[in-house]
Symmetry: C2
Subunit: 197 residues, 2 copies
């Protein structure tokens, strides 16, 4: 369109590739860049480059990190007897926010999905077995979805022969929710896993 | 937080400054950059720089443009007898999308807002008077808000002494809407401006 300069058009296009960003939102984001000072735009461009240049994967837990091994793996205050297996780095952030967990992590980098052609070799699964020496418990914290359950099932079978306890995140009603509006599957799980008071 | 690398943290911070982007969305956007290839991140960083470096304001209509004067001002097919006054470049894009308007534009770069200290000198208002030579009609296309109406009122008074017709965008019910749910003010305007069929 004649009314949008070429370079702005390109930036809008770039933003439409972001998750959850449509044409209209992309336009608003691009105009924000345009309205900002040159210094701020420079800072944003630098941050984008830095993220790709500085961040790598920790060779032990496969979490994203600027150092290798990462800060969690090298932290002496962490409990090395517990290993929490998650899908990706965002799950690590979510669990860290609870301040409840003091063990180590193992990031799979995805979930098993045979229909999409994602088998065990595409994930960081083989690395787990080499990390079990001091581990007493493995917590499988994959999503309660079909792929998450499949992955958890596969890992449970894999770890059966090893000398570790395997646990799974509790399923039940979320805090602050309303029993009336909870779906049957979740409510059934909550009943099944009820806790004596 | 230890679980988020410093450079990723910075990028998330940058994204939270965007309009309509909260912490969670910023995190999703930053992770999208991280998951993308280095080439794509490089392309995005370049686009951001380009927008600030290449885009300037047209000295005639004050719209954003890579050339001066802009493509609309220099287009010989444009009707030079009509001038449409808008708040900013996004309004130009919106009006261009209708393919209904073939005249020129005049971008104010804001709206009068005495409470926020925005007076006529802060806007591109004085430039209008120098552009009226061939103009027969000035369309005031500012928003139907308090600031938009104030600005339109100011411009109407300013243009009164000049030999031009001044018009305002029609107010009424939006296409595809439901009379039942339209607010009173809009419905009153629609009744007032009713058209004989």
């Amino acid at each position: 369109m004649q009314s949008i300069p070429e370079s702005l058009h390109k930036l809008i296009d770039e933003f439409t590739h972001f998750p959850g960003v449509g044409r209209k939102t992309a336009q608003r984001l691009a105009f924000h860049v345009l309205k900002n000072s040159r210094e701020k735009a420079e800072l944003l461009a630098k941050s984008i480059r830095d993220v790709k240049e500085k961040i790598n994967y920790c060779s032990q837990c496969h979490n994203i990190s600027e150092e290798d091994p990462c800060g969690i793996c090298t932290d002496p205050k962490r409990d090395r007897s517990v290993l929490c297996v998650v899908e990706d780095a965002m799950d690590v952030i979510a669990i860290e926010k609870t301040s409840e967990y003091r063990g180590l992590y193992h990031v799979l980098g995805g979930l098993l999905s045979p229909l999409d052609g994602v088998g065990p070799d595409a994930l960081n699964i083989s690395g787990i077995e080499n990390r079990l020496e001091d581990v007493e418990e493995v917590i499988l914290a994959t999503n309660p979805s079909v792929e998450g359950e499949t992955t958890a099932h596969y890992l449970t079978k894999l770890l059966k022969s090893k000398d570790v306890n395997v646990s799974r995140l509790a399923r039940g009603i979320p805090v602050g929710s309303d029993v009336e509006y909870i779906d049957e599957a979740t409510l059934a799980r909550a009943l099944e896993g009820r806790v004596t008071v």
